[in-house]
């Protein structure tokens, strides 16, 4: 369970969000510029909120009043960025095992095998990121985050830069990950279709504020129509 209660000001954005995400998949829904990515960065520890508290299960990750700020590298929160951010100088295999190696986890075991099969990564292992399509890049980025064995997975519109066909393909992979690997996911999107397929609960963010929060089934009809 992810508990967030933060206030954060950056540029014109005035972010104030308080929620308890039970998951397993929670969608952060809202227009671009609403503060969704900023919120993910705060949870991942890439930036520190002006005030408030963030806790994952029993671990406090951030607490302004108590002076707690666990560095990003120790939060064990996987992050799939919108732009994949694969390391261009490493092969797909080296990218995939980057976090796993740092966490001193076994580099070839059933967990690795499972992710390779689930995301259909085996044919890509020897390639470099420059030789991957957009969809392949996102699959590798997802595999890389999963293999570090995170306690929570953040996904920032991982389908936004893909065409419709690739979207459908990755969406199927995402469903498989959700169903077969039991890691809670916080999924940023402005697409109702993605939310309908993936999410159990939805947080609607509007101009930095939590406009609505509840089960996907009840909230879905109320969501504003997104761009895709």
């Amino acid at each position: 369970m992810l508990e967030i209660d933060i206030r954060h000001r950056v540029g014109a954005l005035n972010l104030a969000v308080s929620l308890r995400a039970e998951g397993p998949v929670t969608a952060l829904f809202g227009r671009s510029g609403a503060g969704k990515t900023t919120l993910l960065n705060l949870i991942a520890g890439l930036a520190a909120p002006d005030s408030g508290r963030i806790a994952l299960d029993a671990t406090v990750l951030f607490d302004r009043r108590k002076g707690i700020d666990v560095p990003s590298r120790r939060r064990r929160i996987g992050y799939v960025f919108q732009d994949a951010r694969l390391f261009p100088h490493l092969t797909v295999k080296q990218n995939l095992l980057f976090g796993r190696w740092l966490a001193r986890l076994p580099l070839s075991d059933r967990a690795v095998e499972q992710v390779l099969v689930l995301l259909d990564l085996a044919p890509l292992l020897a390639r470099r990121p420059a030789h991957l399509s957009g969809g392949e890049k996102q699959r590798v980025a997802l595999g890389r985050a999963l293999l570090a064995s995170p306690r929570l997975l953040l996904m920032d519109e991982p389908l936004a830069s893909l065409d419709a066909e690739r979207k459908a393909e990755i969406l199927a992979h995402l469903e498989a990950v959700r169903d077969e690997i039991g890691i809670p996911i916080l999924y940023v999107s402005h697409s109702r279709e993605e939310v309908r397929r993936l999410a159990h609960e939805v947080a609607l963010i509007e101009r930095g504020q939590l406009a609505a929060f509840g089960p996907a089934a009840t909230l879905l009809p109320r969501l504003p129509e997104g761009e895709a």
């Binding site: 991942a44 951010r85 261009p88 470099r128 985050a145």
Partner: protein
């Protein structure tokens, strides 16, 4: 052509290669550290460090050589200390020529490395952080490999500068054949004596050949590095 070289000319070529290689390799760790500080550091005195690094580029080389002599000569504060504690002598030795070459090439090296570090996408470093890499590991595993072409370019520039260094070298360690006489100072000597034209020309051609070779080699290495990334 090489067969026609006199022992004195050979000595100058060998010494130049030794001086330039040692100067480049020895200043690389410091060059990397300073480039990182300037590219990523936020600390008081940053602009002072920046100016200090660029000083040898702006000062007349003779002035730099003289300052080196004052500081690193056997009676200079740094030179006396180094001789007393490490037995290291710079003045009128090839080591001094290497020091002068390193100092003169330092701004070029730092500039190239700094630019390449600044060009590394910080978002990749963030990604490494979320995968569990701390600052040092992120630097070693992501920043450094991505900056490698610039580090290579900076090293080649420093090497080329060291091969051609004249003013600071001749002021600091003079022009002693077999000890501190490098290609440029040897060429200078030959132009000053009657009948030295042929020898000077031979050394000029060698200088050109070495410089072009270094450039071609670095271009070839850089292309290999780039190929790995795209």
């Amino acid at each position: 052509m090489f067969a026609a070289l006199t022992p004195e000319e050979w000595a100058a070529l060998e010494l130049s290669l030794k001086v330039a290689t040692v100067a480049t390799l020895a200043s690389l760790p410091a060059g990397l550290a300073v480039a990182c500080l300037l590219a990523r550091g936020r600390f008081p005195g940053r602009s002072v460090l920046d100016a200090l690094v660029h000083l040898p580029l702006i000062l007349p080389p003779v002035v730099t050589g003289y300052l080196l002599l004052l500081a690193f000569g056997r009676k200079g504060p740094v030179g006396a200390w180094l001789e007393a504690h490490f037995g290291l002598v710079f003045s009128f030795r090839w080591t001094g020529a290497a020091l002068a070459a390193a100092v003169m090439g330092f701004p070029l090296m730092v500039r190239a490395i700094r630019l390449s570090i600044e060009a590394v996408d910080r978002r990749l470093e963030q990604a490494a952080g979320t995968l569990g890499a701390g600052r040092i590991l992120t630097f070693l595993l992501v920043t450094l490999p991505l900056a490698l072409p610039g580090i290579l370019a900076g090293s080649v520039l420093a090497f080329a500068k060291a091969m051609g260094e004249f003013g600071a070298t001749i002021t600091f360690v003079a022009n002693i054949p077999g000890e501190t006489q490098t290609l440029p100072t040897a060429i200078y000597t030959f132009t000053q004596v009657p009948g030295g034209d042929a020898a000077a020309m031979r050394l000029v051609l060698i200088s050109v050949a070495v410089s072009v070779l270094a450039l071609v080699l670095s271009e070839w290495l850089a292309r290999g590095l780039r190929r790995r990334m795209d």
